[in-house]
Symmetry: D2
Subunit: 409 residues, 4 copies
């Protein structure tokens, strides 16, 4: 197990850190000011500063770092990308700056791995250039989506077309003015094996029958201008060539997509946890109560120590997961992916909660990014599978591992 960064990733990390310090963090207030504050996504605009930053990042070679493919992306392994994603996780606007934001990065991976040449030219190319954005439609309002086989939306093949019907929500990114398509997942064959019933289809947002019903807030925050959309699909017809990989392959793609996607989320969440701890420490060192800096008061040092220990461990587990995925493949990494999906968001939530507490009321307001960090961590305990499902996966795989070996010192 070797987590040593290569010379190239050390260089990338150094440049990324400088770019964050000099370009991204100072731009956060500008970006926030450029938002409309509206709950109606039709009035949302991409802040100009974002396009400026994107251009600079691309010029600086800090672009598409997430993509393992060396031709279209940076050609980094997950182990190499991990510390870079963590750095991006320090700022909410950073991932888009470097063209590494969800759900686009996942969609790009899907199109890169499973897309036809035509699909790649039409959809992947502009995504790689940062010209358009995209979204992903899996979760549905009417069923417990923790059990993916509950999915009710349909993707019926009707001659040369596939007809989409149903309702999706938490379709992240659907509100973005640059968003052009959603990858829609629906039932296409109710008779097949439960994991071969679903099909993934590229659905342009401007297709007749697609309607963005509303944007959904997370703790009253709309993540403008990306947003989390609730979309209805009513007899939406797209050509057969918009199907990815083939009918009935939805779960195969989802599995391939979600592994790296979860690792990316966790990497960034560690950056978010570090930022929360950093803010906590700054505040605790600068404010005084009962004659002492808060940092030294009562149980506060324990809180700092517990967070440091939790973050260190969460990072190492994420690195091990990335390394296992790199060296032994998805199947060997299944338990670890579920493990970090439980561990890391919980640590980030704990860090944000503790930092809020040290900040007092300020921590709940918009004066600090803590409420937003908290919401991000809280969402992650549900997105891409709730904690409960991942713990069940870990326990099931542990049972097998324990049975394999009579004695395992």
């Amino acid at each position: 197990m070797d987590f040593t960064p290569s010379a190239r990733t050390q260089d990338l990390a150094e440049r990324l850190r400088r770019f964050m310090r000099e370009q991204v963090l100072p731009a956060e207030p500008d970006y926030a000011t450029a938002l409309s504050g509206s709950t109606d996504h039709r009035s949302w605009r991409q802040p100009a500063i974002m396009e400026t930053l994107k251009a600079k990042a691309r010029e600086a070679g800090l672009w598409n770092l997430f993509l393992p493919d060396a031709e279209h992306g940076a050609g980094l392994s997950h182990t190499e990308y991990a510390p870079l994603a963590e750095i991006m996780g320090h700022s909410f606007i950073a991932p888009e700056v470097f063209n590494c934001s969800a759900p686009d990065s996942g969609n790009m991976e899907v199109l890169h791995r499973y897309g036809t040449a035509a699909q790649r030219e039409r959809w992947l190319q502009p995504l790689l250039l940062g010209e358009i954005r995209s979204s992903f439609g899996m979760t549905e309002p009417e069923v417990a989506s923790s059990d993916a086989t509950n999915m009710q939306a349909t993707a019926h093949i009707d001659g040369a077309q596939v007809v989409l019907n149903g309702r999706k929500w938490w379709t992240t990114g659907a509100g973005h003015p640059h968003c052009r398509f959603v990858i829609f997942m629906g039932l296409s064959d109710t008779q097949a094996d439960p994991h071969q019933r679903h099909t993934m289809v590229i659905c342009p947002l401007d297709t007749a029958g697609v309607k963005i019903e509303r944007m959904l807030p997370v703790f009253h925050h709309y993540d403008e201008p990306s947003g989390h959309g609730e979309l209805s699909f009513t007899n939406v017809r797209v050509p057969l060539d918009h199907i990815i990989l083939g009918p009935g392959r939805g779960f195969d793609i989802a599995q391939g997509r979600l592994g790296p996607g979860r690792i990316h989320h966790c990497m960034r969440a560690i950056g978010a946890a570090e930022r929360a701890l950093s803010l906590l420490c700054q505040r605790a060192q600068s404010r005084v109560a009962f004659g002492k800096p808060l940092y030294e008061l009562g149980g506060n040092p324990d809180i700092v120590a517990n967070l440091r220990m939790a973050i260190e461990q969460a990072r190492l587990l994420t690195l091990k997961t990335a390394w296992t995925l790199d060296t032994q493949g998805t199947k060997a990494a299944l338990s670890l992916i579920s493990q970090i999906k439980v561990v890391v968001p919980a640590v980030a939530q704990q860090a944000a909660d503790a930092a809020i507490q040290i900040h007092g009321g300020a921590g709940l307001s918009d004066d600090f990014p803590l409420a937003q960090l908290f919401a991000y961590a809280r969402v992650l305990r549900l997105a891409d599978g709730p904690d409960e499902v991942h713990r069940a996966v870990v326990a099931k795989l542990e049972a097998k591992a324990q049975q394999r070996t009579e004695y395992r010192p």
Copy 2:
């Protein structure tokens, strides 16, 4: 220790429950629709439905139940009021409906106990009638307000006037269109004993030099139309007779005000926790995953059981606190007041968090009141003293109690 409700409170509870079921809960959507959604409090209006509900509640005799005084209020002890406040805690709009909402209830108690006849006529009377609302200015942005002696705002006596300077925030209710005054607390004598340096002053909001700088969000929510204000006071002059109780008596009033205030908050928070648990159970019983209702799946029954046990205990501790305050006075109740202030908000936060998890994404949205319940609970871990301060109080009083008795079986 007797928590048995009297015949009168049983009757009140029954009527309150019916009023909640028939009037308040059905009005929640109307109320929400009537809000502007703006972050600028100047565009906030009192929803008409609220005034309708207030009129009905007053007519039904469900009015000012919080006030122990029998002439102006309901004449209930804290033990009697506790279950009623819990009922109100089920809906965010309920406390105002029954004229029992913070910070007005606390301010009414202050004016009732410490106000001059003139102060009571001018300010208390319209508050008791629900004609105006009020706010309370204690916390400051520049210092750690967990240590109240850090307070920097000043209330200098200058001849026949008292001159207020400084900045306050988390002045809850200041954004309400009916809000007419803030009770301002400031340093009046820097040479006195640390707990006799501060003075409380009634400051009408339209006095020259008072400026509402902005409203503060809690997890991006503004609590329209009450709001949490940041206010600046610049050479604000009010007559000496606006001082409450007398110069240097600020801490005395605060102590008297905060005890019952904290109990009220905790009573309502238990109602909030029950509502969260109730929503959790409904959702868990109605949604199915992996072939079972969520309610029966994996560790979910444990989550329900743990919440039930935590809520039961928190309620009993709050009742004991109310009973101790009623029968033995503030001093005997000090440790218990701090205990519930730590215990109850944590339980409510835990209940809201668990209910969110069971609801999936829906729990984070506005479709359910869970995000708001969570924010309310989270705020309470800071408002009226952060957990840390209250734990320190409990430990200090425990040390004394343990030293008093050689052996205490």
Copy 3:
């Protein structure tokens, strides 16, 4: 809900406290010295000091306080007995001193409620006088006893006799030199409804075929001279009149026995938790590190405060359970009994663990009763049903309660 002690229980509590202070606690070292330290129960003897204390307690009228029956016991309700049991819980030797120790108190209740006149004369009478002791055989080594229907031991009726076969363990009290019988529970009718298959039988320990195989340690401690026995029963024949209540009534008796038994355990465990906290505070106040008493150092005040809050709540919940059992009967108290069975032992374990930590190595040794308090609390999380089973009961009853009411503010 009224927990106010009557004049009589206040008097009893006062006398009990004095007896504890003057007689029981000073006798603890003597008692410990009189033990053999052997793992072989055949060398165990009743310490003389115990019989002396029992005689004094009986003379002082502090005897059989647990028994609700006024003729043979003290005639106290559970609510009245609760604070008395808590006082006894401060010392491991106290319950026997007052003839209120498990499993005798439970067995006396069983015989009092369900025994025939002959059974009561032969077995109950000497138990009430403290002349003999008894034990209870339910748990079995070969199956998961958390599910009582797993029970494999048999009690076949064969003419005028019932024939017992099987193996029981954790038969508490079986090692005591005064122990004369075990209440044995076994399958008598494999065709009946699962809860009517089992029969309880009084089995004298000197019956042919009964063998005490060994005593079981808890964290290497044997609880001499009571002990936890593993017993084998091989074709043990006792007359039919040794059956309690009737064939197939085992579960009915168990339900009736376990409710009060669990409450007694929890009451005593609160006393144990208080003693642990008391020892913690004494040590923390008397030892100094880094220039401060441990009591004031770092997060230690938080630990004290958290324990105080947890113990207060656990006690109130136990009182509510006792009160509910008294006023509304066993069925209404089912959830609460399971709740305290989860809550109280956990609090006691937490208190003992924290007290050990403050004592350093001393806390793990025999110089303080903390290791024993810890073991007692730890056992209670398993005895009379493991936490897991009780949480499941609470969740199941909560589901029903939630479904009964559409809205429950």
Copy 4:
């Protein structure tokens, strides 16, 4: 950060595992049977099987693996030794079998690094050969030893001799029949800088004035035949050449000794946690309740998953600590050493507690090693510095780290 095992350590691990499986684990019952069960260490004997196993281990080249020195030990780095120590941690008797047990391993390191040639010949040589054992006297009964500057024992230099006075306890290993000396630490110069006041002295156990007062139990277990001794030193005189490194160098040695010692403990504790989890899984898979294997029942899968996640993280953090010590030295590893000292014992305690719970009463008895595993983990939360001290170290170093960097993504 590279944790990849070298070919040599892979080979060692493989051989060690086989030796554990074929020799050590099967010998555990024999070893247990050979113990006297007495609390008096004078009747303790080394079980013959231990000497047999030691001879085999030495012959197999699985000997002194802990010692980084290639001449006298295995020449392994801490990173290389970590997985091997974890394997040994699966059995309580294993560390001695491989001559890697505390406190001997720590004492050997001290003598190897700081001892004179004469000291090494007389004391180190027989230790390396496994011919004698040793102990370490630091903790004292009369003061809070968490603050090492509280130490009261004295080591006064008087001409050609050093005179030892005082009382030490938790002197692990002092009861072993092969134990020949204790490394005694005492005050030699009360005027010097607080960390230069103490001197370490090799004190043969048979020196006049040394008295083993008693052995101390941990949860009633005496760890026969090593034991934890309480020793008194009364005017004990040893020649000056028994001082290690020089007068006033006690803390320097302690620092050097405790870093690797703590890592070794943590490595072994991870093995202990794995064994507890393994036992938990075996039991949960083999026992059935309510129609299901315990493994699949209710929240049990969550318990397994949580333990797996906690152990994985604890192991990775320990490996990082070892690697940091190897590559950057003690000072760079200070925070990490304290981190694992808090994290790992807590995980091991949690694993043992959960495994006990799944085993029911059996888990508390001697039929499984769980009670002993629990006690070992519990002791570790106190030994070599209590959790509280280590958290304070982590927080203090974190404060410095945070202040060093303005921005640290």
